[in-house]
């Protein structure tokens, strides 16, 4: 009789788990992996509603939309030619749905309905950019410089897309490294290693920032499309990037305008200098294209970009003051840095509209979107690109919920458009607050903005990224240690080499977090199966 009752209870539990999905502590997500590969024996069962939502509205929808984007932005033949010619697209972007999986593991309910929209936006914009590169690429068109080639402007990924708004009606601007380098590291961490090794193989030292190495390596391996008649470079993030620009100047052999961002940018004189440089850059573009600067176009796109910023403020308000924020740490970080650097495009507005609906519903219903949160985390400095989904892992394993990160907060400004002078003044500030500049190597005042943001976002925990090859941030390591001690703040140092997953592996990062959570915090994992697993060959 007792066995029968037990069986009945087990059946009931089984039915409940099937319908609603297992509760957080019972999921054992780590057991879903095939050893070493990061592949799943089977994808997660999240209950009927969430599994079907993920199947139809995320997996199937995004595969379909990718094909749609490929067709509308240049066609499948264009894409196939690009895949065959360039490693960074073929080896990386075919695996993109696994990138979604890694970011969305364990997510349920409203988070599953909002966060994948951020991924959708990034995928669509990535396709738009590489398809445009291929359409204009002389390498894919028998060396011919076609109309698209003549109507495209190439620039470093750290030159903000907003600089090119005045020519948006006639010209496309495509960053040289954003798609061949930056996004690849998140989607398939293996691809970039070819480019890092290539630059070291010609005798350059291995200790500068691996981002700069990889960006130069693309050229060493002749893996950069020839898609524009001229190029605009910057010195971002640091002096290593200047070396990259020199190599790019050599290998591109095109008219080049260098627009470096100043390191110590709070000085008003430096600000004026930067404004002048932007104007010089515009003169260079006018000279190269023969098309004059268009203030109305600039104003229009700046205003549209301000709308994106306005919604970001609304999102931050919810993230800071409630438990109803439906965006997980990885989606927040990647989407924000992507669109704020890339600039205004229709897809961001489309995705924000979708996310707004979910966000408002969460606030209205007071939904607790991350119910197993033990600590509200702020992530500071530059993140490991090969493990950008660590916040998903950390929430599933330890209940560490990443609320906000440094990269999200860098470009926190509305650009004035009431006059040319005001717009230029604000654009110069935006340009100088470049990625990894304002709060990473931009001086103590900005680096220590951590404390006020920690308070603003109600965080009780810091994940302090430790980019081992960033000389700037290595220099302030001790100062942070002192501050953490003085302020009695729990902080974990997460060492990494930005894109290079070989220096500090994902498993080592997890071990460091695990050690802190057990030995310092004396906490038990929510999902012990995630503590230690081998994904060394995983994308």
């Amino acid at each position: 009789m007792a066995k029968k009752i037990k069986n009945k209870e087990e059946l009931k539990k089984l039915a409940k788990d099937f319908w609603y999905g297992k509760p957080h502590g019972e999921r054992r997500l780590g057991e879903l992996y095939i050893d070493k590969t990061g592949l799943y024996k089977h994808r997660e069962w999240r209950g009927v509603s969430d599994t079907l939502y993920y199947f139809y509205n995320v997996w199937l929808y995004n595969y379909g939309m990718m094909v749609y984007d490929l067709i509308r932005y240049g066609g499948l033949v264009n894409f196939a030619k690009g895949v065959w010619r360039y490693r960074w697209v073929g080896q990386t972007y075919l695996t993109v749905m696994h990138w979604f999986d890694r970011g969305m593991e364990g997510m349920r309910g409203e988070v599953l309905r909002a966060a994948p929209w951020h991924y959708r936006g990034m995928v669509s914009e990535t396709i738009r950019q590489f398809q445009h590169m291929f359409a204009a690429d002389a390498n894919l068109h028998g060396g011919k410089h076609n109309d698209a080639w003549h109507h495209t402007m190439a620039h470093n990924e750290t030159v903000w897309g907003g600089i090119f708004y005045p020519w948006r009606d006639k010209f496309e601007n495509v960053a040289m490294e954003m798609i061949p380098y930056f996004v690849t590291c998140h989607v398939n961490s293996h691809t970039v290693q070819n480019y890092i090794d290539a630059v070291q193989s010609i005798g350059l030292p291995g200790d500068p920032c691996p981002m700069c190495q990889a960006e130069a390596g693309l050229f060493v391996l002749d893996d950069m499309p020839d898609y524009s008649p001229f190029v605009i470079t910057s010195n971002e993030a640091c002096d290593a990037s200047v070396s990259t620009s020199i190599l790019q100047d050599w290998f591109l052999d095109k008219p080049l305008f260098a627009m470096p961002q100043p390191m110590q940018f709070d000085d008003p004189l430096v600000h004026k200098h930067c404004m002048k440089e932007i104007e010089e850059c515009w003169k260079f573009i006018e000279e190269q294209t023969g098309v004059p600067f268009n203030w109305e176009l600039l104003k229009k796109h700046l205003e549209q970009q301000n709308e994106l910023q306005e919604f970001e403020h609304e999102k931050w308000e919810v993230a800071a003051k409630t438990n109803s924020y439906p965006i997980n740490g990885v989606a927040q970080a990647l989407y924000r840095i992507y669109y704020s650097q890339d600039g205004d495009h229709e897809i961001w507005h489309h995705c924000d509209k979708k996310v707004r609906k979910v966000l408002e519903r969460c606030v209205r219903n007071k939904t607790n979107t991350f119910p197993n949160t033990r600590h509200r985390v702020i992530a500071w400095s530059c993140a490991p690109l090969f493990f950008s989904n660590w916040p998903t892992w950390a929430y599933n394993c330890w209940g560490l919920n990443v609320i906000i990160n440094m990269d999200s907060l860098m470009f926190d400004m509305t650009i004035r458009t009431d006059s040319y002078e005001h717009a230029l003044e604000d654009m110069a500030t935006y340009h100088m607050w470049a990625p990894m500049r304002r709060m990473a190597v931009g001086g103590m005042h900005h680096i220590f903005e951590l404390w006020e943001n920690m308070e603003k976002f109600n965080c009780d925990f810091v994940m302090m990224y430790d980019q081992l090859q960033c000389k700037g941030m290595q220099g302030v390591h001790g100062l942070f240690e002192d501050e953490f001690r003085d302020r009695n703040i729990h902080a974990i140092w997460m060492p990494h080499a930005l894109p290079d997953s070989r220096t500090v592996t994902r498993a080592e990062i997890r071990r460091i977090v695990n050690d802190y959570m057990t030995t310092v915090m004396h906490e038990e994992p929510l999902d012990p199966s995630l503590l230690d697993f081998d994904d060394s060959m995983g994308w």
Partner: protein, 74 residues
């Protein structure tokens, strides 16, 4: 008229049946991560082999003529 209706009904049935089978097949691909496995074990190794064996221009042989273009000072 009746024959026509019957034909239409059969066609609809086939369509619904076809959609159902496609749905189940796609769900199996999704659930067992068959797309990931195909790319990991077949797609990526094949493409990697292709990229590793590609003829590439030796970019280092290109001359670096620093004075080829003006310095663009305005």
């Amino acid at each position: 008229m009746k024959k026509c209706k019957c034909k239409l009904g059969k066609l609809l049935l086939k369509l619904v049946g076809g959609l159902l089978v496609a749905n189940v097949a796609l769900f199996l691909v999704f659930f067992f991560d068959l797309d990931g496995k195909l790319l990991f074990y077949v797609g990526e190794p094949f493409l990697k082999k292709h990229y590793d064996n590609m003829d590439r221009k030796d970019t280092l042989k290109a001359p670096y003529d620093v004075d080829k273009y003006p310095s663009y000072e305005y």
